[in-house]
Each structure stands twice: as structure tokens, then as C-alpha cells.
Symmetry: C2
Subunit: 232 residues, 2 copies
DNA sequence: GCAGAAGTGGAAGTTCCTCCTCCGTATCTG
DNA sequence: CAGATACGGAGGAGGAACTTCCACTTCTGC
């Protein structure tokens, strides 16, 4: 039995019938929309219904939730990374950092699935591979901002990640009320990130390390009750 | 059939047999412990098991999750409010505000169920009645802090609630790593709350109103998937 | 100590979800 | 138009968690 090709959407596979390809797009569109609102764990049956296809069709095209998520987020994550590169190209290091903070948070507020993906990096797959490119860029961003003398000297990349997560959380929480209410807290947080002045409080806690952050992700991914989009 | 008394634990009801009362305490203790860690939705069977009693015993004592939660949180919420009163009694308005922010966040980081309760106020029951006493106190706290000239003039009670929620969220997220890691972000946020200086960013967004915050809670309480501890 | 009231455990039934497969039917494409 | 390809949706599997029931045990007051 020649089960040769396997990739879900790559050119190598024989082309889909025209109606099948249209359905595939419908499914991706519906999945993107529903997951942005309800997260990675959105029932597959709901996605199929929203796409106007039967559940079997969804399964035929995407045998597992993981394949659906990967197909869906390859370009969304790329857009997320592109923001980081845009920021890296900005002349003012401080402006670059705050611009990234805003855009990253905004993206996560607008897309709950993206937020979950970034918070529960499963450690393998296309998604994770994209994420690996994030670290050096973010590190540079923080260093440049520090070099301007405006960023608190004790601020690290890991702080950037958590501050960003804080904003995304409050953004998600206030979303039903007003899609941009969270920017009020962006203002406060950004001001708090500025180099100390007479009032500055010394941090009571040491910075966390990247390794600790990764341990946290790994730990989260293995918790029950967390949004699960892939095996294990 | 004389089904006269009904309240769960009040003095009016006939006293429980000694072993039954001991079991009741075991249940409360176990529920408090497990819910602090896993939230309001912790399976009742797990609580019964942790208490070393059968599931029927739990049901006999607390016919609904709501009654269990109310019995459990009456004093915890009182402690939470007591903090607010302690803060209100502090001479320095700024210190009062920041002390409250720290203690409130710390309590929520230490008790996930408390956090959920405060975020999804169901709008009725003993718990809600306690919460009503919170508003005027918090309002005073903010006003006094503003009067010191140190708090940004545009900062409102609702901001206090959300800032606090932000900190609790990041605290919960980093908890598995380090129970006090969140205090690092408390530092940043508190600095960001200080009255503008040369760098201060004007808030891009208008303050939310208390009514909007309440609408948000009501809306959340009716969402599927949210921790539900009472009917409706 | 004993009778009866009070309390107990946990098996079993129920409800609710979501996943995933199967197969008779429909639709494309060359 | 024939055969390959794709479709839909019913329905079984499986897992949580809730809730009830009842035969059995443990207290308490006399």
C-alpha cells in the first residue's frame, strides 16, 4: 500500500478537488474566527458547523486538532514575529520596545487562541520552531531600550514577556466591554518601566530566568484543564 | 411533615452529632485547601475524598456547591475586607493604597478560589453582600492617595480593581515557579501609578465606570465555561 | 446498655460533553 | 459518463462530574 504523501497542505500532496479545497478554506476561516474568540479548545463540531461542513469533512482534512492549529497559526505567528522585526528596525530603542509591547498585547487581546499558544508553548512542532526565533529578537529589543537609558536597568526579557502577558490578561478580561480599554493599563505599565526617579521602588524580587520561564511553560502544558491542542 | 429548619450552619438548627460536626469541619478544611489551589470548580468528589468522608456526607452537609462556598468564604472575605479597613486606617494615603494593592493581590495569588469569587461576583448571596461593603472603602482609599498628590490624577477605583486583577493574574501564572515573583511586577505597576513627571504618558483610554465593571462581572457570570459555584 | 435517631459510604444511575468512525449518497473531473 | 473523490450526520465510545439511594454503622439520652 503506497501511503506516500502525508503533509496536510503542502504542494507535494496531490491537489484537492475544487470543492474540497473550498471547504478546506471555509474550515480554516471558521476555525480562525471561533478560536480567536473562544480559544484553542473550541469544539471541532462547532467549527465544522460554522464552516458549513459536516464534522467528517473537518476530520478528513485535519485528522487532529494539532494539524488544524498548525495550519491556522503558521501565518499568524509569522505576523507576530514580523511585528518584532518591525520594532527591531525602529531607530529609537525605547519607542521600539513600547511599540512592540502594544502590538503584541493587542494581537493577543484580539485572538485568544494566539494568547493561549504563546502561554502554553508545547515545545515541538512548527509553532514552537517559530517561537524560537522570538528570543534573540526580544533580547535585542530590551538591550536597545536599556541602552537609551530610559528603561529600568533591572528590566529583562523575561520581564517583557510577563508584562506583556499581564496586559493581554487584562485586555481579555475587559474585552467584552471595550476592545481598547486595556491600553489604559499599558500606559501605567510603560510608565512604570521607566528608569528610576526619586520615587522609584527597588524591585523586591530578583528577575526570573529564561530557563524558569520555559519550565513554567512546560509545566503548564502538562497540567490538566489547560487548553490542549496536541497530543501528550 | 415538619421540615422546619433549613439553614446550613446557623444556631437555630439543632446541633449536629459530634462525629457529624467533626466531619463538617474536615470537609470545610479540605474544600478550603483544594479550592485555594484548584479554584471554585474543584470536583466535589475530590473534596470529599480529601476530607476522608464519603460523597454523600458532603452532600448531606452542603446540598449545593454554593452553600459550601458561602460557608467557606464568609470569613475569608471578611479577612479581605479587614485588610481594606487596615489600609484605610493608615496615616499616609499613598502607603495605604500600595499596601492594600499588595495585600489584596497576595491573598488572591494564595487562593485561586478567592480570586475567582472576586472576579465573578454572582450578584447575590452572602458573598455579594460582603462585597458591597468594599466599594466605599476602596473609593476612599483612592481619594486619599490622590490627595497626597502622588497618585496620578486620572486614576480611579475601577483602575485599582483592574490593576489588582492584573497583578493577581501574573501572580497566579508565576506561582508554580516562585510564590512571590509577582511582586516584581507590583513594583513596576506601582511606579507607573505615580503622578506624571517628564515622561508620563497620557492615558489613551478613558476610565471605565463602576457600572461598566459590574456589567462585566454579570456578563462573565453568565458565560459558559466560567467557574460556576451557584445556580443560574 | 439499649433503642432509636442521626449519620455514613460508595455503588450505580444520570446528564452532559466532545471525540471520532462508518457508510450510503452526492459531486467532481477527465 | 465512469470512477475517483468527497460529503454528511447518525451514533458509539469514553470521560467527567453530579446526585440519589439504601443497607449498614455510630452516637446520644434515658
Amino acid at each position: 500500500m503506497p501511503t506516500e504523501e502525508r503533509t496536510t497542505s503542502r504542494a507535494a500532496t496531490r491537489r484537492l478537488r475544487r470543492d474540497a479545497e473550498a471547504n478546506r478554506q471555509q474550515i480554516l476561516e471558521a476555525a480562525g474566527r471561533l478560536m480567536a474568540e473562544r480559544g484553542l479548545a473550541t469544539p471541532l463540531e462547532d467549527i465544522a458547523a460554522a464552516a458549513g461542513v459536516g464534522i467528517a469533512t473537518l476530520y478528513r482534512r485535519f485528522p487532529s486538532r494539532e494539524e488544524l492549529v498548525e495550519a491556522l497559526f503558521e501565518d499568524r505567528l509569522a505576523a507576530y514575529l514580523a511585528d518584532l522585526e518591525t520594532a527591531a528596525a525602529m531607530p529609537d530603542g525605547w519607542q521600539a520596545l513600547t511599540w512592540y509591547l502594544r502590538s503584541a498585547s493587542a494581537r493577543q487581546v484580539a485572538d485568544r487562541a494566539l494568547k493561549e499558544l504563546l502561554e502554553h508553548d508545547p515545545g515541538h512542532g512548527t509553532v514552537s520552531r517559530l517561537l524560537e526565533r522570538l528570543w534573540p529578537l526580544a533580547e535585542t529589543l530590551v538591550e536597545r531600550a536599556r541602552a537609551t537609558g530610559r528603561l529600568r536597568r533591572d528590566f529583562t526579557v523575561v520581564d517583557l514577556v510577563f508584562v506583556q502577558q499581564m496586559l493581554a490578561s487584562i485586555g481579555t478580561a475587559t474585552l467584552p466591554l471595550n476592545a481598547t480599554a486595556w491600553e489604559r493599563y499599558l500606559t501605567i505599565v510603560v510608565d512604570g518601566m521607566v528608569t528610576s526617579r526619586r520615587d522609584a521602588t527597588p524591585p523586591g524580587q530578583p528577575a526570573l530566568t529564561v530557563a524558569q520561564l520555559e519550565a513554567l511553560h512546560a509545566n503548564r502544558a502538562s497540567q490538566p484543564g489547560q487548553p490542549r491542542y496536541c497530543a501528550r
